[in-house]
Point group: C2
């Protein structure tokens, strides 16, 4: 662990993020700390590349993007991680069952603590709370991923919402749609929750900007490519 971060600060961070921290022995805590690295990633850095074991990434500042990649270089964003969140899918030696490749990039200048996967795996062998925590953290993203997949696979909501938003601004002029999510859902014959979630996804992709005043279309080109 580099001296850039005080040990007390790190311990407090681990206590906040790992519910089993207080159960660990002094030696286990020290091993955990020694296997951890404080790393700054400039915007655009690829942090995790496929199925290697990078370790568990705790985000302190900035944001990371998880995605899958086709042979032809096509990317699909699965989700993003923000300060206080952690990436478990990058720790393949902790999760034997995960055999698919995900990629993780820093989307902004980011500061992270990376906990060594092997050290965590050894701990999880002895400590069931650590094992359960790793499994639950990984599994909790299964639903997020399925949601993105379903929306895209069934070619419905991303495309349909893109078409609706483009139609709407071409009718009203300007670049902002002044309708509530509820109203959009009604027009589209969908549910408000689905519209809200897809708008958040668009917003995280930089395609729209959400505010009280409405939905501002910030990347018309991208929206058009979705609407095709």
């Amino acid at each position: 662990m580099q001296a850039i971060m005080q040990n007390e600060e790190l311990i407090s961070l681990f206590r906040d993020n790992f519910p089993f921290w207080d159960e660990l022995s002094q030696i286990e805590k020290e091993t955990f700390i020694n296997s951890s690295q404080y790393i700054s990633f400039p915007k655009g850095t690829n942090i995790h590349n496929g199925n290697e074991c990078t370790g568990i990434i705790l985000i302190r500042k900035g944001s990371l993007r998880l995605y899958i990649l086709s042979d032809e270089g096509k990317e699909i964003t699965l989700y993003r991680l923000f300060p206080g969140e952690m990436c478990m899918l990058s720790a393949s030696c902790v999760l034997n069952n995960i055999t698919f490749d995900v990629f993780v990039d820093a989307e902004e200048n980011s500061e992270c603590i990376v906990v060594g996967g092997c050290a965590y795996a050894a701990l999880a062998e002895r400590n069931t709370a650590a094992k359960i925590f790793a499994l639950e953290t990984a599994l909790s993203r299964f639903s997020d991923v399925m949601w993105v997949m379903q929306q895209i696979l069934f070619m419905s909501m991303d495309k349909r919402l893109a078409i609706f938003l483009l139609d709407e601004v071409s009718k009203t002029g300007g670049d902002t749609v002044h309708l509530t999510h509820e109203q959009i859902a009604k027009y589209m014959g969908s549910a408000r929750e689905v519209v809200t979630r897809m708008l958040k996804y668009f917003s995280s992709e930089g395609i729209v900007e959400l505010s009280r005043g409405g939905i501002k279309l910030t990347d018309i080109k991208r929206l058009r490519s979705l609407a095709i």
Copy 2:
């Protein structure tokens, strides 16, 4: 538990399938058995419907198909389950983190043991081995699902393989492709593992029949629809 199955047979089945069985107290074992049902599902029955808690389904005979369903009724098969395997994603009260809807149908006349989700969840609260088992079983399917999704999403392998197989029989005549998976992979610029896995998927969907002699195209219509 119905009298149709002897208790000894059931206990031996549970011992084989749940690694924590011998750790349970007599009362816990009895609760587990009493919360279980032996059910025969005729071919075509819908067994699990979305996000309700059907319980953990242990397959004894037949086969089950897991799939997701769009609003418009489009289905995507995620994977199939055969005798000796179990379905954990149908037990949403055991897995709080799973919020997406999967559907399970009997593809053949099937015989299953359904372990009550609430009883299992209560056990998993006290017994960490039972909890870890449920999480690992669910997570182990995450990779299968991602594989199917990636193949379809990136519009590559299912479509490309369908086109290749159709081209091949139209060149050579007949309904069978006499090439090894290795050769097909070479022609397609792909990896043998990918070709083998996709052929197995086609085979499980009844689109092809795999044998030593080659790949018999058994559902040309379906193959054509994939190739479009």
